[in-house]
Amino acid sequence: MAQTTSQKGGQRRLPVPSWLRKTLTTFATVAITLLGLLFVTFMIGRVMPIDPVLAVIGERATQAQYDEAYLALGLDKPLLVQFGIYVTDVLHGDFGTSIRTGKQVSEDIARVFPATLELATLGTLIGVVLGVPLGVLAAVYRGSWIDQISRFVGLIGYSMPIFWLGMMGLLIFYGILGWVAGPGRLGVFYQGLVPDRTGLLLLDAMIAGDWTVFKDALSHIILPACLLGYYSLAYISRMTRSFMLEQLNAEYVTTARVKGLSEWDVVWKHAFRNISIQLITVIALAYANLLEGSVLTEIIFAWPGIGSYITTSLLSNDMNSVLGGTVVIGTVFVALNIFSDLLYRFFDPRAK
């Protein structure tokens, strides 16, 4: 009740609008979540049985060089102090320098995250555009050949190792048929031709109006995007089918049919509308999964994304990069959660 005020101990509280309270609560939750995430990752990095100094100076450094690097990294301070210094730096926008690339972590992430964003977005679009109709049709025509195909697609998607499918895709569509370009984001002849505005190559090429670069970038992204899209499709179509079956067995659907509504209206205007809220969560989860970066896909297709960045950094004990990447991934998850909450409120009056 945002308009009411209360008195306690004779003091009068200022009225706080509910939207403000919710916004502040959301911000506090996000801040605590991210801080917790950072804390856990930071501590894991520090207690791992790996010497972070060696990661910086290499195995052939002298003891004097080791000691110098030890102090420079602040490792002589208590863990909590180290964490406090790190968080203060992060709040000032300084994620530190990557010991693996020698560049600022923020600069590295600004380069690798758009690559993942572009790939994950296209992959999710493919998964949604194909997966949702397939799931709906499989539910409507339950037990038919369409349903069998849907199951088969889902089964393959769940059971086939992604690196194997990736290799096969590369071999067939790039190696043998030559329909798509090879690994990487752009051919060597097109690099640097369009200004880097967003880091999203397709978008940058469109903004620059350079359709040759756009075609080349599309030719590079289409295969890994289809691969990721296929895995999303398998998940989304199975979930859609399951949600739809539940709705199609509901009494209101029978009533709608008895009232003489067309099958199209029954399926799409009634049943599908009611699963849209659950679908939002499923799609958001699928999208978040891809945004985490698909390490194996990125390695097979030499795609310089955040998944392989974090993994390689972790294996090299480059904790600044791991922490920076973790913040980004954590923020993405939180943002997608908030976004799906907002969509819930929009689609479902009860959530308001």
């Binding site: 060089q65 693996r100 071999l171 390695i299």
Partner: protein
């Protein structure tokens, strides 16, 4: 989460299915070289700091040195480059270099002795990891102004703390850290007194054939011609190195004609290229050695008979002919073949019966338990498993401890391992680079903390052998020096707790039109400027 080991299987599957002939439809332009390589180890281009393989590849093509190797005649050893000639004082401690004419930095500034003075002093003052290559001659932050001095634009005088073999000094100057940078350009980009270190990490300022145009970590390095390069104009005007992790992917790109050279093909993929007339594979011996070592803090491993038995119970040929085929050759001395004084003797062959009888004569006739510490690289795990099997046959029960490179190395440096299976590559192209770590450990105490020495890591105290190693460093008669290293290696083979097993062969696959590709042998890095196609 699937593990990286799945990639091996994936590569194999792709290789098997990829045995069909692929239609080549693309070709790179005739003046552009496109290479697929694993370049995720590049941290910096600064020659005073760079110490990684892929970084050395870039550095060799960007920076010239006082003396350098001719890529088309590596066996000839060092030759004049920025220094036209040099004189050594009577006491052998002062070397005076006379600079050559006609060398110009990419910026247009001429290369002078002042630049050489700046570069070498800078390497000492910055005190980065590879600085030991120079500081081992007695250069310190306090004395560089006197010991490394340009008396004029044409003359550089360096003064060593004592007499060393001239070949040792000059060989060290061919290492990456000997790269001469453009002092004016570098200092114009100095921040907070870092002598341009931050700027040189991502930029280059050399007089070599190429300059770095663009570097995207883990993605690509693009190099263009240095327009002021003083030598013959290279045929390749642009060189692009793409980071491609997967062997199968590199092979596909090569067969499609999208790249000219694939540098990390697995034995399966190399075998799969057989019969493809458009592609050839060039083998080259590199400097990396694969070895096992026994920690002398473990009592059972101090027994000479046990160590000898273990050396006989290694299936050298079996490994080299199976999972290491084409990638490694058997080498049992601590100097890689092609190095000055490298010993070719291979006294140990797989002989289980002999190993068993040696064990019976040892203080451990019933065997004992042992842990092998090995990093999670497939070839090393394969080697460790082979050792587990063959040592098991002589009563040594082996447990494998597999960890990340950093974990395994931590244990090794802390002298907490039993057996370590690892690799070692030379830091500079002089025999002392390996002798000084395998056969040098004058103070074996824990307090000495000589973590850089392999002998110390294995708690192998060798005051006498250390003296022999030091004596070889100062011997100026090259032939005599060679004999000293041969003798040192023979003794080492017999008595050391090290089992050197293999030397790396690098197999580079390339379009059949590519000529003069030299990966650098055991002594240096790749040279793009001589390549034609």
């Amino acid at each position: 989460m699937k593990t990286f080991t799945n990639f091996g299987k994936a590569a194999l599957v792709a290789t098997l299915l990829g045995s069909v002939a692929l239609p080549a439809f693309a070709e790179t332009p005739p003046n552009m070289l496109v290479i697929a390589n694993r370049i995720d180890d590049i941290k910096t281009f600064d020659p005073a700091e760079s110490f990684e393989f892929a970084g050395a590849d870039v550095s060799r093509n960007v920076y010239e040195k006082l003396v350098n190797f001719d890529p088309l005649d590596l066996d000839a050893g060092y030759a004049p480059q920025l220094a036209a000639s040099w004189d050594v004082s009577e006491d052998g401690k002062t070397i005076t270099f006379t600079m050559a004419d006609g060398h110009v930095f990419a910026s247009g500034n001429p290369v002078t002795a002042k630049d050489a003075e700046f570069s070498l002093r800078r390497a000492v003052l910055l005190n980065k990891t590879p600085s030991f290559i120079l500081t081992q001659f007695g250069f310190t932050a306090d004395n560089v102004e006197d010991t490394i001095k340009a008396t004029d634009d044409k003359t550089l005088v360096i003064t060593l703390d004592k007499q060393y073999a001239l070949s040792f000094v000059l060989n060290c100057l061919t290492a990456t850290i000997g790269g001469i940078v453009d002092s004016e350009t570098v200092m114009a980009n100095e921040t907070d007194g870092d002598m341009g270190n931050a700027w040189l990490r991502t930029n280059t300022a050399g007089s070599g054939p190429y300059k770095v145009l663009d570097w995207k970590p883990n993605e690509s390095v693009m190099m263009d011609l240095n327009p002021n390069y003083g030598g013959d104009e290279p045929a390749m005007k642009r060189v692009i190195v793409q980071h491609i992790q997967e062997s199968a992917t590199q092979r596909l790109q090569l067969e499609r004609g999208d790249i000219d050279i694939a540098r990390n093909l697995s034995p399966e993929d190399v075998a799969g290229l057989e019969g493809n007339a458009d592609v050839k594979v060039v083998d080259e011996l590199r400097g990396r050695l694969m070895y096992w070592s026994a920690n002398q803090k473990v009592e059972a491993l101090t027994d000479p008979k046990v160590l000898e038995a273990m050396k006989y119970a290694v299936d050298y040929k079996g490994m080299a002919d199976s999972f290491l085929k084409g990638q490694y050759t058997v080498q049992q001395a601590f100097l890689p073949l092609t190095f000055l004084g490298a010993l070719e003797d291979k006294p140990f062959a797989f002989d289980i019966e002999k190993a068993k009888s040696l064990m019976a004569e040892s203080g451990y006739p019933d065997g004992f338990d042992l842990k092998i510490s090995v990093r999670e690289a497939q070839e090393r795990i394969d080697i460790a498993q082979s050792l587990q099997n063959t040592w098991g046959q002589i009563g040594i029960n082996v447990e494998l401890i597999v960890g990340t490179g950093a974990q395994t190395l931590d244990r090794y440096r802390a002298r907490e391992h039993d057996i370590y299976v690892g690799a070692w590559g030379p830091d500079y192209p002089d025999p002392n680079t390996n002798a000084g770590t395998f056969a040098y450990n004058p103070d074996n105490s824990d307090e000495a903390g000589a973590t850089g020495l392999l002998a110390w890591r294995n708690a192998w105290g060798i005051p006498e052998m250390s003296e022999e190693t030091l004596a070889a460093v100062v011997e100026n008669d090259t032939e005599k020096r060679k004999e000293m290293y041969l003798a040192l290696q023979k003794e080492f083979q017999q008595v050391s707790p090290f089992g050197v097993m293999f030397q790396q062969i690098e197999q580079n696959a390339m379009a059949s039109s590519v000529e003069n590709f030299v990966a650098g042998g055991a002594t240096t890095a790749v040279s793009y400027w001589v390549i034609t196609k």
